[in-house]
């Protein structure tokens, strides 16, 4: 009986309910898309921040001026503590001299890893992967200009009595110290400086939030002994602050839309309750209890809320995927845990919309049935 009545009511008010459903589903769609993004946007944006390069540096406890270096084995420790998949590059810095006896900073590193870890390098010339023992080198734009070097030229560098013959494979523009340096592969520089197995520092890109990065840095510090493990604060701080603001913005937007949806559902529901007066009068006259009428109405709005939530979630999932593609070039996967949340929200809104029910309690059957 209850079910049949409910079904009748729903069918009977198709137009009106469809209108409420549209308001509810569109609100739910946007809210669920925002929630989905809330989960994923941090990860996506963190990836964008990769362009900032390394966020942790491991260096000797003393400054460079003292000529301190690290043992190459430290790399194994780093791999053990931070995981093998953390992007890292060792550097050995020396001041070499050109044929014309002009000093230049020569950096030895893993060329491929270094270029990947400093994606902001603009390299003119060869990008192809370099072999580990390659005698190719990358020359900073400023250094290339001062020495008159072009791609393909040979560059001879001296350190003490040793000499290295390098081929210029590319020119780096970075807007930093690299512009004044020559970057070559690590073994070549180690041989030139007679510092086999030594490095000046290691750069790491640790994924995660500022807090996680700090934790990894602390673990590295504990495992590596007498070295300085420094998270590059410039990056961690800015990343954290920005992500916080973007997330706050998304949450505020969701709250606004929620209020709007609630209000427009309330308006529709009030209209519905007013119209229901005749039905209520009739039911009351036939001896139906107020409780029963209220239960029917509540059932009706709950069905509406669930339907609005589910439809909204589905549309919101499509919206999420579309926005992910448009903005980040990769789909943001919709979260299943958003579904119950959104359905609960919408049922809540619909029930709030049932507030005008109080009006029904005051209905006097006789007056209504007389048609006033």
């Amino acid at each position: 009986m209850f079910g049949r009545l409910l079904w009748r009511l729903l069918r009977g008010n198709r137009g009106r309910l469809a209108v409420a459903l549209v308001a509810m589903a569109s609100g739910a769609a946007v809210i669920s898309a925002l929630f989905n993004m809330q989960f994923d946007v941090q990860r996506k944006l963190t990836q964008e921040f990769r362009t900032l390069g390394a966020n942790v540096v491991i260096a000797p406890a003393k400054s460079f001026g003292d000529g301190a270096t690290l043992d190459r084995n430290l790399l194994n420790t780093v791999e053990m503590v931070a995981g093998a998949d953390v992007a890292k590059a060792p550097y050995l810095y020396i001041v070499a001299r050109t044929d014309a006896n002009r000093p230049v900073v020569l950096a030895g590193t893993w060329l491929n890893a270094a270029a990947a870890l400093r994606p902001y390098w603009k390299i003119d010339g060869e990008h192809a992967p370099f072999s580990a023992e390659s005698t190719s080198c990358l020359v900073g734009a400023n250094a290339a200009r001062q020495f008159g070097l072009k791609i393909g030229n040979e560059l001879r560098l001296h350190y003490g009595v040793n000499e290295a013959r390098l081929t210029v494979a590319g020119i780096i523009t970075a807007g930093g110290a690299e512009d004044d340096q020559v970057v070559a592969s690590l073994p070549v520089v180690q041989d030139l400086a007679s510092l086999r197995g030594r490095i000046s520092l290691i750069e790491l890109r640790v994924p995660g939030t500022a807090h996680e990065i700090r934790a990894v840095a602390d673990r590295l510090q504990a495992a590596s002994g007498d070295v300085r493990v420094e998270p590059i604060r410039q990056i961690a701080d800015a990343e954290g602050a920005l992500l916080g603001r973007v997330r706050l913005l998304i949450v505020s937007m969701a709250a606004l839309i929620f209020v709007l949806t609630a209000l427009s559902v309330l308006a529709t529901m009030t209209a519905l309750a007013m119209e229901r007066r005749v039905d209520v009068g009739l039911m009351k006259a036939l001896g139906g209890s107020i409780g029963r009428i209220v239960a029917l109405f509540l059932a009706e709005v709950s069905v509406l809320g669930v339907a609005g939530g589910v439809v909204g979630y589905l549309v919101g999932a499509l919206l999420t995927i579309w926005i992910g593609r448009r903005v980040f070039g990769a789909a943001i996967s919709p979260r299943l845990e958003v579904l119950p949340l959104i359905v609960a929200l919408m049922v809540g809104v619909a029930l709030a919309g049932a507030l005008p029910l109080r009006l029904l309690g005051r209905v006097k059957p006789a007056v209504i049935l007389r048609g006033e």
Binding site: G15, A23, P119, R245, L256
Partner: protein, 438 residues
């Protein structure tokens, strides 16, 4: 008659009208707030990105190759070119002067310092923390490392301008105070009397009071930071500096800005020069600082451009989605009010009103609602945007009157959308069954 009919319907059922107007007002408030925030967000986030510090590096053009390792320049002080500190005020006279948020000159001197009887090699970095620069137009501009290096954290306090005070890098402080007590408040000597520099002359001992310990996560952690005039004195280069970090608000690079300005037509060059691209701001800085070379710090500039493009794209799409949701919700409300009044339609028709007349009355009523609701919504939304701006970015979003006509137009369009379908259906009603209550 027409006006009276419309007026009547407002008076007769104030609650219904109130609800519809509230839905409209809230919808339009959301629209206004979302649009204001979205219009502002690029600017706001760009400003936020300045927490990454400087994005332009200015160095002397004819400089010898800097021997910089780990942020410390190992060139002797008598080598290389310098820039004039006196020219710095001109940075606030360039076309995009208001986009120059801060700049800090640096002059490093490698020195041997003494504390008690010990000596340590460390570089002495002369800079500004908070310094008033006088601008040629008569005003003054406060800038320094506080703005260009906001992530520097101080324990204690910064040195005062023009004083004999210094701030120690965290690493250096740890080495110096090993075994000793607190280092803040002690005096260090610079450089020691009995160790003349290779330049040959004996310089007087300079005592410096340590006022704080700075942690930067960079090379400065192993250095001493002092007011700029002090290193100029040590280097024998009064009024000079070697590198300048500039923090500028810029527009993300795009295909146009990456072209070589020399290959542009005059019209294109003007457009490029008058856009706040980092490359055009760099060029303008080179023009006011003779013999300088301004380069984008690509690490910061690239990231900023990428993230800004992404975030503002994201917010625009979210805004559009919010607008659509608001429009649908408002349209639904206005549809509900029209459906509710079917019997009135029936009555009017029974009394001989044409469909056109009925539609006119209802639409007029809805439009009055739309304009009132839209205007209230605009006011409320501007307020909301202020609150949002303050809570998210710390400064209120600016009031944009441009949005008023847009919001009113939108609200009219939305009620039209909401009323047209039920009105069309109402026009097909036969008056008799409706009046009978069927």
């Amino acid at each position: 008659m027409f006006a009276r009919l419309v007026g009547e319907s407002f008076v007769r059922n104030p609650r219904r009208i109130l609800l519809a107007a509230a839905a409209l007002a809230v919808g339009m408030a959301v629209t206004t707030a979302a649009l204001s925030v979205a219009l502002d967000v690029g600017d706001r986030l760009a400003r936020e990105f300045r927490s990454l510090g400087a994005n332009l590096l200015v160095t002397p053009q004819s400089d010898s190759l800097p021997l910089q390792i780990g942020g410390v320049d190992y060139r002797p002080v008598d080598e290389g070119a310098y820039l004039n500190e006196a020219d710095l005020g001109k940075l606030r006279t360039i076309f995009w002067r208001h986009n120059i948020l801060g700049f800090t000159p640096f002059l490093d001197v490698p020195e041997r310092i003494a504390i008690g009887t010990d000596g340590v090699d460390a570089s002495v970095i002369g800079t500004w923390y908070e310094h008033d620069v006088s601008v040629p137009d008569g005003s003054s501009f406060r800038t320094g490392a506080k703005l260009t290096h906001p992530w520097w954290k101080i324990q204690g306090r910064w040195f005062a301008e023009g004083s004999r005070e210094c701030v120690l890098g965290e690493g250096l402080a740890a080495r110096l105070s090993a075994g000793g007590g607190p280092i803040i408040g002690t005096t260090i000597q610079l450089p020691p009397k009995d160790e003349p520099k290779e330049t040959g002359f004996l310089r007087p001992l300079i005592p410096l009071v340590v006022t704080g310990i700075v942690s930067t996560g960079g090379a400065e952690d192993n250095a001493i930071l002092v007011p700029l005039p002090l290193t100029q004195e040590l280097a024998g280069r009064p009024g000079k500096f070697r590198s300048l970090f500039v923090s500028a608000l810029t527009k993300p690079e795009d295909a146009f800005s990456e072209r070589d300005p020399n290959s542009m037509t005059p019209a294109e060059y003007d457009r490029w020069y008058c856009s706040p691209y980092i490359s055009s701001i760099g060029t303008q800085i080179e023009q006011v600082l003779p013999g300088s070379n301004a380069r984008a710090i690509r690490r910061v500039a690239e990231t900023e451009g990428r993230v800004l493009t992404r975030v503002s794209g994201l917010l625009w799409l979210v805004t559009i989605a919010a607008l659509v949701a608001a429009a649908l919700a408002v349209a639904a409300t206005s549809a509900a009010t029209v459906i509710e009044r079917r019997s009135e339609v029936g009555l009017m028709k029974a009394l001989g009103a044409t469909n056109l007349m009925v539609g006119g009355i209802f639409l007029a009523e809805q439009f009055v609602l739309a304009i009132t609701g839209g205007a209230i919504g605009f006011l409320f939304g501007s307020l909301l945007a202020r609150v949002l701006g303050t809570s998210v970015f710390g400064t209120p979003a600016s009031l944009r009157l441009v949005l008023l006509p847009i919001v009113l137009g939108l609200s009219a369009a939305v009620v039209l959308l909401g009323s047209v379908i039920p009105l069309r259906r109402a026009s097909r009603f036969e008056p008799a069954p409706i009046l009978r209550g069927e």
